[in-house]
């Protein structure tokens, strides 16, 4: 009875809110839909780095309805298509940053409990953060905004497209799978150790994870029992109490979430993989992963990717053995490697990071993959973005010179076939942004 009346109340409130929203729409500050530019666009004359099928000199791309409709030396396009002249320029997919904490204001870490899988980063997403623009101006079109590393199991990430100037929901990557952030090592043990709480050691770190998965299994069993009873027509079956935290943990065990683990040390990769095996979930990627090169064959055998920096090291003990050959060694042992920023600064120049990794031995085409297709795989959107292939989203960056170098600049960035950044424009160089919005 009580439950039903609550439901009515909720419905009423929702209805009122919706009505209010409709009434307010004309006065809303939300920008209008952008001019429909993406119906037919042709990029002509540039050197195209496709990522998946090599380089096309003096090539063209035809974009239709926000998707890549054709790529090649020459393409068929309607005569009224908007032409972007890329003669003398370089054209590549938009850069993808698989580890970012921009646009979350101060709300990166719910560092009050080591297990917080029910925190949704979308609830903190500040779509007006200028960092989204600055990364866009560095060629970034997609980012994975992750919870911080204070907790062994942190919150669930939000995947964005950098359509700066549009409304919040326009920036969410439609249909992107849900990722969840785990952490390990020094950060959780420091955060909780300083409070004299569990965990303050690596033993503690992993034990709180095990404990929470044990509880999640129990929760899943209760629901399974309940559902089975209902299915049998048991009208007296009592539903277990819903628990957001346990539900999120259950989603991990059910394989519904991509598990992204902040982890530095070789022994911890192995423990994390053993734990995943014990509880039957899959790890998508180790992030930072500075010692991946020490156990790269084992990481590769588990099908786990890494998202790392080219050359950060030494800022803490678990970063002491970081070497700039981590990416190349891991790659050679079969690990899928992405270069990520984890930094408001570096996200603006991931092209430089990819260039740097070439000097540490990664072939150019692989280096390019490390900031496009490989991070797309980590985020679970590699069927949608990360290369210039027919059918993929037209997320494209155009550069004034070879992008993987110190001095290359982004000239234009397209997302879903629309130009969002154009360096030649005055002011911020943005096409969909109005000052003071």
């Amino acid at each position: 009875m009580v439950r039903r009346s609550t439901l009515h109340w909720v419905m009423l409130v929702v209805f009122l809110l919706a009505a209010l929203a409709v009434a307010q729409q004309p006065a809303s500050n939300e920008p209008q839909q952008p001019p429909s530019f993406h119906n037919d666009v042709v990029i002509r004359g540039g050197t195209i780095l496709t990522v998946t099928h090599g380089k096309i000199e003096n090539g063209s791309i035809y974009i239709h309805n926000g998707k890549i409709a054709a790529v090649g030396k020459t393409v068929q396009a309607p005569s009224n298509a908007t032409v972007i002249d890329a003669t003398g320029k370089w054209v590549m997919p938009g850069i993808i940053d698989s580890h970012s904490h921009i646009a979350l204001d101060e709300d990166v870490n719910e560092a009050t409990s080591p297990i917080t899988p029910h925190m949704m980063m979308k609830d903190a997403f500040d779509y007006n953060d200028k960092m989204i623009y600055r990364a866009l101006a560095g060629g970034v079109t997609t980012s994975l905004l992750l919870h911080g590393s204070a907790n062994m199991i942190g919150g669930q990430a939000v995947v964005i497209k950098h359509k700066y100037g549009l409304g919040r929901d326009d920036l969410l990557f439609p249909g992107a799978p849900q990722s969840i952030k785990f952490a390990s090592g020094e950060n959780p043990k420091r955060v909780y150790g300083q409070r004299n709480q569990l965990p303050s050691t690596r033993m503690g770190n992993f034990e709180v994870m095990r404990q929470s998965f044990v509880e999640a299994r129990e929760y899943m069993r209760e629901w399974d029992d309940y559902n089975a009873k209902v299915k049998k027509g048991d009208k007296d079956a009592k539903a277990p109490k819903r628990d957001l935290k346990l539900e999120a943990l259950a989603d991990i065990l059910r394989g519904k979430l991509l598990v992204q683990i902040h982890c530095y040390r070789a022994d911890e990769f192995l423990t994390e993989m053993a734990l995943a095996k014990e509880f039957g979930y899959k790890i998508r990627a180790f992030h930072h992963a500075l010692e991946a090169y020490k156990v790269a064959d084992k990481i590769a055998a588990n099908g786990v990717a890494i998202a790392t920096w080219p050359d950060w090291w030494g800022f803490k003990y678990e970063g002491w053995d970081g070497i700039p050959w981590n990416a190349v060694i891991s790659m050679h042992k079969g690990v899928r490697v992405a270069l990520k920023s984890d930094s408001e600064d570096v996200t603006r120049r991931l092209n430089q990071e990819a260039g740097k990794i070439i000097h540490y031995g990664v072939p150019e085409e692989e280096a390019l993959k490390m900031i496009t297709l490989n991070p797309a795989w980590i985020i679970g959107v590699d069927d949608r973005v990360g290369s210039l292939d027919v059918g993929k989203d037209a997320d494209i960056s155009i550069w004034n010179s070879y992008p993987l170098s110190s001095a290359a600049l982004v000239d234009e960035v397209l997302i879903d076939g629309d130009v969002y950044f154009d360096r030649s424009l005055p002011g911020l160089g943005l096409t969909h942004y109005k000052e003071g919005q």
Binding site: W312, R349, L404
Partner: protein, 455 residues
């Protein structure tokens, strides 16, 4: 100029013949000691001071550059170890104008950090050479990417955190690596020196910019006063007179007739008050820059400016001061309403106005990435040769070591780098590094780990 050059040549020749005589006695010593002769042949020489020499020859002898020129114009000594660097680029060792090399190992572990003494704001008597850890694992990491010299500076939490040293990134001990001790003194005025952390009741003086400025001014006044007392005493002493009295009455030595009580803090400031050494004035915002410049001018300091990340509006004014600028980090974020490249393009804007600029990594672990910041600034409009100067000859001049470093010129130290391309590009790989004319093995803790696991 020409005369100077020929004098130099004569000197080099004399040195060369001395060492020839020496090596004649010890055959085979060429590649083992600093007296050995090394010739880099066939490379593209970026001399910095006299253009680019395609297919050049560079001779190093006795730790110094003995001669530089086009193939054919330079005699290759018979006893030399000749390294064919055809297709490679040869350039002077890079100079990083602010690092914490030797002051930190693992950033998160305070026991390995000797970055800054924050107990007080005015600490000019802190000398980084007292903490400099020559055996740090970080230095080999930097030098195998072509960084051969650097300023070691204390961190910037104090207005006067201490004095910088200038190091050579090779040597058997701190003694050998510290090229110039107390080469300059940072003066930080960015607002971050305020003691306004935590709750209001925990603030202490100086918790505002007014406090910082007043404290600095008082410090320099105290130092001037100390200086005058010292001078008066010296004058009195040299004019004789009271020496006998002193012997008679030793107790009075510390009294009005004696020297002022020795004060290490004020003493440390004297060379800077006398304009003998540069004060490195760090400011970011225009208002801070103006306050800091006024203060420096009030005490006639010799100024090198530092940072200036948000002072684009004052660049004409800065140019008029003729102060050189250590620019950056150019990777700082722009202001909320600024265009994305507002900070990236600062070096270009400065160079355009004739400001002498140098780059710094402001780092320790990744000082090796110094040339890429210069390269990035090229993307945003800084001419390539200016960018190269800003990590070679400009810092050498700013730090007063251009007679020894900063270009490929005969007579300078044999700090030379050979790489497979543009020194400023991220893709470029360093192939040889020479410091003091000795080839440095391209080995670091990191290469050792690489070799251990890359099987």
């Amino acid at each position: 100029m020409l005369r100077k050059f020929s004098l130099l040549l004569a000197f080099v020749f004399a040195l060369a013949s001395v060492s020839l005589a020496q090596t004649a006695k010890k055959p085979g010593a060429a590649s083992e000691s600093t007296s050995g002769t090394i010739v880099l042949r066939g490379g593209k020489l970026l001399t910095i001071t006299h253009g680019v020499i395609e297919n050049g020859v560079l001779v190093m002898r006795n730790g110094k550059i003995a001669s530089v020129g086009a193939a054919g114009s330079v005699t290759i000594p018979r006893d030399a170890k000749v390294i064919d660097v055809t297709g490679m680029t040869v350039y002077p060792g890079l100079i990083d104008s602010e690092t914490h090399l030797g002051l930190t190992e693992i950033s998160a572990d305070q026991m390995t950090n000797d970055l800054v003494e924050t107990s007080e704001e005015i600490m000019p008597h802190m000398h980084v050479y007292d903490a400099f850890h020559a055996e740090t694992a970080l230095i080999p990491v930097a030098r195998i990417n072509g960084i051969t010299n650097a300023i070691v500076a204390p961190a910037s939490q104090d207005t006067l955190p201490g004095q910088d040293s200038f190091i050579q990134l090779d040597g058997r001990s701190a003694e050998e690596m510290l090229m110039v001790r107390d080469i300059a003194m940072p003066l930080n005025f960015t607002g971050r020196q305020r003691r306004n952390q935590g709750q209001f009741q925990n603030y202490k003086f100086p918790s505002t910019r007014m406090g910082l400025a007043a404290q600095l001014r008082q410090t320099f006044l105290d130092a001037q006063d100390y200086d005058q007392k010292l001078a008066a005493y010296e004058k009195k002493k040299s004019s004789g007179g009271d020496d006998k009295d002193k012997d008679k009455d030793k107790d009075k030595e510390k009294g009005p007739g004696g020297p002022p009580k020795r004060d290490l803090k004020l003493e440390a400031l004297l060379p800077y008050l006398h304009g003998q050494k540069p004060v490195v004035v760090a400011a970011e915002e225009p208002n801070d820059l103006l306050t800091a410049i006024e203060l420096a001018n009030e005490f006639h300091l010799k100024v090198v400016l530092n940072h200036l990340g948000h002072s684009a509006s004052l660049l004409d004014k800065v140019a008029a001061t003729h102060f050189p600028v250590i620019v950056g980090p150019i990777y700082e974020q722009p202001k909320e309403d600024e265009r994305y490249d507002a900070v990236f393009k600062l070096p270009a804007e400065m160079a355009k106005r004739g400001i002498k600029i140098a780059f710094a990594s402001y780092d320790a672990h990744n000082s090796r990435n110094l040339p890429y910041a210069a390269g990035y600034a090229v993307g945003f409009g800084l001419p390539h040769d200016e960018a190269l100067k800003a990590i070679t000859i400009n810092p050498a001049q700013i730090w007063g070591v251009d007679d020894r470093l900063g270009s490929l010129d005969a007579g300078k130290e044999g700090n030379v780098v050979v790489a497979n391309g543009d020194p400023l590009d991220v893709k470029t790989d360093v192939k040889h590094v020479f410091i003091n004319g000795v080839e440095i093995p391209l080995v670091s803790r990191q290469t050792e780990l690489r070799d251990q696991y890359w099987k």
